[in-house]
Symmetry: C2
Subunit: 339 residues, 2 copies
Amino acid sequence: MATNGTTPTVRDVAQLAGVSPGTVSKALNGRGQLREETRLRVRSAAEKLGFQPNHSARSLLAGRTYTVGVLTSDSFGRFTLPVMEGIEDSLGAGQLSTLLCDGRGDPLRERHYLQELLNRRVDGLVVTGRRSDPRRTVGRLPIPVIYVLTRSDEPGDLSVTYDDAQGAELAIQHLLSVGRKRFAFVSGPPGHLASRLRRQGAERGLAAAGLTLAPENVLLGQWSEAWGRTAAGLLVRRPAAERVDGIFCGSDQVARGVADGLREAGVGVPDDVSVVGFDNWDVMAEPSRPPLTTVDPNLTRLGQESASLLLAAIDGGELGTGVVLRPCELVLRESSVPA
Amino acid sequence: MATNGTTPTVRDVAQLAGVSPGTVSKALNGRGQLREETRLRVRSAAEKLGFQPNHSARSLLAGRTYTVGVLTSDSFGRFTLPVMEGIEDSLGAGQLSTLLCDGRGDPLRERHYLQELLNRRVDGLVVTGRRSDPRRTVGRLPIPVIYVLTRSDEPGDLSVTYDDAQGAELAIQHLLSVGRKRFAFVSGPPGHLASRLRRQGAERGLAAAGLTLAPENVLLGQWSEAWGRTAAGLLVRRPAAERVDGIFCGSDQVARGVADGLREAGVGVPDDVSVVGFDNWDVMAEPSRPPLTTVDPNLTRLGQESASLLLAAIDGGELGTGVVLRPCELVLRESSVPA
């Protein structure tokens, strides 16, 4: 570690080892024809001086920058963060660094960043974003590009995300397994792909048991606790014969609101009604009363797997195309299993 | 934007402009002696071909990498993210990129990253972390280093964070202004610097009004909603003469728990008791019933200001030393102002 204002240079190493600067470069990059004795003398001199090869110089020699760009379409938030963590898990092991750019949903800003990443000759690019709805492709680039969490609208690109419908199906199978018979689906805006896919998965899970989701029990509003409470209020005001006993919610925020709304209306969760959320967001699922059973999209694993795919492509492998869906898991807590 | 596998090189530009590669380099870097006519001819050729100067080559010439490292001591979370956004606001404008490293609280991992950032010759370093408690210095480095949100234990380093005590004082002044007379402070672990400083600020605010914080009304536990509910339960069971009418909480999670605990015990918020939180974390403060009045530490602005200081130091200015505290603001919502 350098500990003062002067950083040792190639020249300092060359002088100490009694060789030319070009020889130092060859010795430290493991290139060229050199006697082993010379190579060792240079390395020992470099170590003695605490010399670190200049990254820019190393990059020029190798034709690689050992850097991966990460471009997000909207701020790094609670969905993109665990993905980032997973990406770092995979890249960190291979000594790559990540250059982070936040386009904040502004196409011009994104364009600027993309250009900057290309100028810096990143070895590969990860494009990510909060919404699962398809986004515009960044186009064909001279480096491998992978879309994670978000999907590209260009079928020739590779997008890796989690399987909303399969996650929803898991939730319904669990509600069936604890004996629930009449279901509601409470979720965010109907236009959001996440709402649509989770509804499809729920319907598929019910169909397998010969059941259906009554249209009046599909309540689509906002991704908020307030909407969950409102929806719970609507459901408990139904005539007794029409009341549901299993509610699958499109997010943990909605599920927490539903649980609060039911409890405050005197309906027991999970004894009268089972509630299941989606996201496994600790900040919502754990303090909920009761804590939420929820679908975990495994975002960190998604990041790890995507980065591994990108690394393989940087090393010359084939990246593949299309949308790859990775499975979700169910996390059991108190909100779903009656005594 | 490059749109296929072949990227134009310096040689392509040189050929089109009818000059040598060395002249292209001089013309695009604005260096050396060249006729203006030649410089313009090269630039026009570069533009025509969509040529982007290789960043590694540019860095070697300029002795700068136009990259700033950001090292966090524990995962990028809800406290460090807005700071990151602010850093990006300031750096993005100057065309710098950020290399992001997450040490995850592991000194060995952090050491490895620090070395990697130095190898890459970053122009400056931001060290950040979730906890306001002092952390070990990364040592003297040949580049400017600034600690943001977290503090260095080395007085010769520069740390920039927000003023916990001043924020707490704002909260107390507000509670006094709405007519509150008997106060409690409910917060996280007593060992955390944030708890200690916020208590000091609350006591200072009360002292200015000739009041004190009774020791039995200082309830220190966890940074959680559950602890807030527990603390509210303890406070409402006091004899009527000893009950408080203003509660300042060390976080929005605690405040949300306190508001829930009071409401469920039949105590009106804000009519009977005013509640104020800390953090202005939208996910907690807005869905709380009622929504929380809270102290906003202005983390994005903190990031912007810190990055500007770092940029000035990279450009040769003096960085300064010690701990700089930036002011908090109060955000008014329904939980504090009685009808």
